[in-house]
Subunit: 341 residues, 2 copies
DNA sequence: TTTTAGCAAACTTGATGTTTGACTGCTAAC
DNA sequence: GTTAGCAGTCAAACATCAAGTTTGCTAAAA
């Protein structure tokens, strides 16, 4: 199916898609005459065939052509250019990502912001599914006689704290016990252990301080559940896009950003250390049918440590987005390794 | 100026404003006949006078009337109803705010979300200016040989942590020294002490571990500066408002939300434990001239602990918003006192 | 066989005009 | 002070028209 197209058809399809990406207007046969170096009639003939295969569409009988979802897919798979990154942009990315930060997540946020700035689309990042990250250390710090802070470190460099309040005073002995108990039972185990096994253990084997321990477990579980953080950047960029003029689309987009679940759902389907492109309906969400999402997961020593994505109109500059993503992904990985997070 | 209006004029103005708030359409003399129990001609005469004073406007020569900014102001000052809160909504608020949470800021976020849900406008909250909050305690926790966590507690119940990375190993002795130093110099002093005085002291009096201390101060300062958190809720509600149909307004709004500084600037001007209303140009920001902002500061033992605001079109249901705010403000205060944050 | 020129048909876009209906302001009567 | 009545104003909806694109098709040219 991909090999079906002869060279000229490829060039025409590419020209249509890139023209449409640039202008947001249907591309006519006449527009391509200079570029293709043949008459408009010839181009029309070719266009008719491209339309038959389903790569391009007309908005009405006598309009120019617009890429179809299938057309974009072919473009992304076969025709994409990945040299759309200028020296200046590369410098910017390098500069940004080499900023010293203290937490992995901060670096990810910087990457997201940079991505959005360069592409002018909305960028979003979500944390990883931390359930199978391994606990390296747990600390409890008494912040007041009734306030305890729990700090959990995982092997992926992710740190989480939770503040827990009690109705009665705690003493240092209790805190030490707590530390001892949790360390013994949890260090070296995945975070999800917190859910089932631990609770069972405490209920059966432990006798003292059950209430305190239960509360601590409860809070830590809450913390883990909530910890798939979402960070958005560049939402106002959409306002400048022509498709935003259609009120429906604009509304859709606002709703999409608000019901972040939709987007995070898509981001979560991404696998492996590679760039994924979801075009329109490929997102499998009705609300996203006018949008495309490009994502990549970043790994640290084979562990998923989060996903970064771009969301924009289906008429998205895929070449640019993918070029930028590739470069950022590479640089981010370098930094991760360098930084020993 | 406020007493100038006779009773019927007040009723007419109120009817116009409430009608316009409801329908987003100019209100005609005919619309008010039933309500005012006199002929449309009489109402027209009254309207002409209200227009002369500048409380209402026409969109064109033969259109109905629309409230002016001055009209809204009069309405907010004199005509507002504060019984627009249903039993059900009160219950919802109570329910929500009585959720047990561990941090003050979480409760504020819940209040913000609830506010947005009930009013259907976008709600925003910003943290207080923490500079003059007094430090109660500082703890340092070693999370790894090169990773230190600093925890700062203030008298307003706000807790902040920062993770600091070093290029060399730290031992427990150094951490203890650090704790001793910071506790001695800072506990009981306002957070802003961190900025000037402390640095001087270290540069002149201390000899050991200067680099470590400098880094810690640096990071903590960063933390304090960044700590005016902004939390937004209900941005998609705007999409359903008729004014959103005007692309310019929609764009303005997106930009406003993105350049949060604009809104936080306005929120920051709010003073005392009271509700403030900024209508259109009263915000003194050109970008906000089509919007209104209603805010209140909440205090805990006379300390500013943040501001909650609503942002919506000038055609905002002020009565509803203010009713809800009053109630939430009251309940929030109750909870603050009860919870001993 | 492939490409091109030429042309009718389809359709958008923008300008122009018309009708309809909703208001208002004014005047004169109540 | 209030109201009825009426002319004047304007927006919104709709129809009409001309101009400009763009296509598909056909037939001729390469």
């Amino acid at each position: 199916m991909s090999g079906e197209l002869d060279n000229r058809k490829k060039r025409i399809l590419q020209a249509i898609i890139e023209g449409y990406i640039e202008s947001a207007e249907p591309v006519s046969s006449g527009d391509l005459v200079k570029e293709l170096d043949c008459s408009s009639a010839t181009i029309r003939n070719e266009m008719a065939e491209l339309e038959k295969i389903g790569f391009i569409e007309k908005t009405h009988t006598s309009s120019g052509r617009v890429p179809s979802q299938k057309g974009y897919r072919y473009y992304v798979d076969e025709l994409i250019r990945d040299d759309k990154l200028s020296k200046k942009e590369m410098e910017l990315i390098k500069d940004r990502l080499e900023t010293k930060v203290n937490e992995l997540e901060d670096l990810t946020k910087i990457a997201t912001t940079t991505l959005s700035e360069i592409t002018h689309y909305t960028a979003i990042t979500i944390g990883p599914d931390v359930n199978n990250h391994v606990i390296i250390d747990i600390k409890f710090v008494l912040l007041g006689s009734r306030v305890l802070m729990a700090v959990i470190l995982t092997d992926s460099g992710i740190i989480r704290e939770s503040i827990i309040k009690f109705d009665e005073d705690l003493n240092q002995q209790q805190v030490d016990d707590l530390t001892y108990l949790f360390k013994n039972k949890l260090v070296g185990k995945p975070l999800e252990t917190m859910n089932g096994p631990l609770e069972d253990f405490i209920m059966t084997e432990m006798k003292t301080g059950i209430e305190i321990i239960k509360k601590v477990i409860e809070e830590i579980n809450k913390l883990i559940k909530e910890s798939q953080q979402v960070y958005l950047n560049g939402t106002n960029n959409v306002a400048d896009m022509p498709e935003f003029k259609k009120v429906d689309v604009a509304k859709d987009f606002l709703n999409v950003l608000n019901a972040k679940d939709l987007v995070t759902d898509v981001l979560n389907t991404g696998v492996a250390d590679d760039i994924q492109v979801y075009i329109g309906e490929e997102t499998e969400k009705d609300e996203l049918k006018n949008f495309s999402i490009v994502t990549f997961n970043h790994l640290l020593e084979d562990k998923d440590i989060g996903t970064i994505g771009i969301i924009g109109p289906t008429r998205m500059d895929y070449s640019k987005v993918i070029s930028v993503m590739k470069y950022i992904s590479k640089k981010l990985n370098d930094e991760f390794k360098k930084g020993k997070y």
